[in-house]
């Protein structure tokens, strides 16, 4: 993704899927960034986005973390269909220092 490269950014997609589910979505959607799987939900628990909607799954959410490892912006869905726009995420990235 050229825009992300220009912004010196890597993206990780994470869900509770197992390996087969992670492979399936990477193939189906044509994702060019790493799809990680967290079936025990340890990481999403740590980020506070597990089961917020009572479905036993990761709640759709996006975290922007800068090069120093600090969370600079986050968006956590309030419903199943709630998502931030791509342009909103890119705007947040463009505002990071260096």
């Amino acid at each position: 993704m050229p825009a992300l490269e220009a912004l010196e950014t890597v993206v990780f997609a994470i869900s509770t899927d197992d390996l087969s589910g992670a492979k399936a979505i990477a193939s189906r959607v044509g994702i060019s960034f790493p799809v990680l799987y967290d079936p025990a939900a340890d990481v999403m628990e740590a980020y506070g986005v597990y089961d917020l909607l009572g479905d036993g799954l990761a709640t759709a959410s996006t975290f922007v973390i800068d090069k120093q490892g600090v969370i600079r912006w986050k968006y956590v869905a309030r419903s199943i269909s709630d998502r931030p726009s791509v342009s909103e995420v890119l705007e947040q990235l463009s505002e990071l220092d260096g």
Partner: protein
């Protein structure tokens, strides 16, 4: 390296080990790993609270027995400043809120590779996209 820096470096490494153990064992223990509890431990290192006497917390949560965890960024800061006494700082706490130091993680990927947040620090910004599931 000054005596003060040695103490900071040792404390920082101990904190990093504590954080790592907390994430790995989160599903097996009742020790919380959320930002609020870690933040509290970091900001009051001289006077750790007796959790068993705090009516606001469940009594099942054990009081921290070891030194409070130090954020990963502080470890990097202490290590990077090995030759510069003026740059040792203890700043943000590890947590999941904006301005917190992000929780470190290592997870397997669909490609067969393992990925970690730490491997990109200092070089890349990272966007984490949690999605519900594939179906």
């Amino acid at each position: 390296m000054s005596y003060r820096l040695r103490i900071v470096a040792v404390a920082a490494l101990a904190g990093l080990a504590t954080i790592s153990c907390g994430i790995q064992d989160a599903s097996q223990t009742s020790l919380p790993v959320d930002g609020a509890s870690i933040s509290t431990a970091v900001t009051t290192p001289e006077a750790p609270r007796d959790v068993s006497q705090d009516p606001g917390l469940p009594t099942a949560i054990p009081a921290p027995a070891a030194a409070p965890p130090i954020p990963a960024a502080s470890v990097a800061s202490a290590a990077a400043s090995d030759n510069d006494d003026s740059q040792v700082t203890l700043s943000a706490a590890v947590g999941n809120r904006v301005d917190d130091v992000a929780e470190p993680f290592t997870l397997p990927g669909a490609s067969g590779r393992t990925h970690s947040l730490d491997s990109h620090l200092g070089e890349k910004n990272v966007v984490l996209v949690f999605y519900r599931a594939f179906w």
